[in-house]
Symmetry: C2
Subunit: 206 residues, 2 copies
DNA sequence: AATTTGAGCGTACAACTGTGCGCCAATTTA
DNA sequence: TAAATTGGCGCACAGTTGTACGCTCAAATT
């Protein structure tokens, strides 16, 4: 076609990007990975339906790519939160605020993860599960090394916290700013419950 | 048709049941409400596609009916748990066990609720949200009246607990018996964290 | 300069979807 | 007994889907 002075690989990458972006933009609205139509993605990406196959074997392969990208975003979130915490500030409060901000900015990615976590496709569920597992593990390691908690307890605590945060996150996405603020307040308090509880069971015994 | 000595209403109810059951059985596998096809439901129910409209205006109307039925099951669960608790036994342990048993027996209903809770359709999400809200409220009332917790704290505690239970429930459904057992153990411990934490913040004051 | 490669396209097809329309026949009502 | 109601059906239609096939033509390779 008329893309004169542009090397092949470059152009291919560009189109691939267009496909991925198109998919993400569609997930904005009323679609999940499982009912994303190849033709619609192609339409939004500005390519012919059949051209899709030059980049992905399946719609499922595209789906997994999206999950990967979203997982990457999640790890960025983790890093961002940690650096903020190390710069001083309450661990829980900072984490929740970071998560909330992030959920607004990267709503597409977060939405994707939340939906597919309990979604239809076992493959997608597994992929998301892995990402969240990873997330939990990092949190667990962090708290284990920054508190006196045993690995066992740190794990339980981290898992519970992540579950709570993601559950609240699901509501936060479609909420207004005020609702989100309130939700954050409640979440912080609830996370404190867990933190206190975990310390109680591990700290001074009984 | 050949349903001779059967009054009209009876037969209509029967067909309606067949449709609902067909839908539930389809949700068993790889479908959510949002990609349930009218024709497929009709096929499984053993009726012509167009006959569907004699019972539901939409596929969405059927969906809301299913959510309602599942919500009903949820309230049964609540009652069952309470009666077991009142018969003596740890609150948390009994509740979790009841929930796990229930999730296995009524896996269709629970699965439906879990999926649509973070699903695609705002209407379904809202419907499920209402059911869970109801569930949370009952738990909150129960703990408020059985412990010294303030309404405020009881609410927070109940919300956190329900979030945790449902999140774990999502995993429990597709798990093996052994995995489920382990999951239950962890969940119990995590709920204890929350309970202890809530008491700490409300009980003897800081 | 000649050849190979490969991204992108258009056409085509079979499978599926939701739903409008009119008919039938059994139950209910008059 | 005659008339009205209504659950269920088949047919038909337009729209959407995934994907196979073969072509083009610029870029890369020889």
């Amino acid at each position: 076609m008329g893309f004169s002075n542009m090397r092949r690989q470059e152009q291919k990458q560009k189109t691939r990007r267009a496909i991925i972006d198109a998919a993400f933009s569609l997930l904005d609205e009323q679609r999940s990975l499982s009912n994303l139509s190849l033709r619609e993605v192609a339409r939004v990406a500005g390519i012919a339906p059949t051209s899709f196959y030059r980049h992905f074997k399946d719609i499922d392969e595209l789906g997994l790519t999206l999950v990967d990208e979203a997982g990457l975003a999640l790890r960025q979130l983790m890093r961002q939160a940690r650096s903020r915490i190390d710069a001083g500030g309450s661990v829980i409060k900072t984490s929740v605020n970071t998560f909330m901000e992030f959920a607004v900015e990267n709503s597409n990615e977060i939405r994707l993860l939340l939906r597919e976590y309990s979604g239809i496709s076992p493959a997608f569920r597994a992929a998301v599960s892995r990402e969240i597992q990873h997330f939990t593990q990092e949190l667990s390691d962090y708290t284990a090394s920054h508190t006196g908690l045993s690995r066992q307890l740190a794990n339980l605590q981290a898992e519970a916290m992540v579950r709570l945060v993601f559950s609240a996150g699901a509501e936060a996405i479609d909420a207004t700013q005020v609702q989100r603020e309130l939700l954050g307040q409640r979440l912080i308090q609830q996370l404190k419950f867990i933190a206190k509880g975990a310390v109680h069971y591990g700290g001074s015994n009984r």
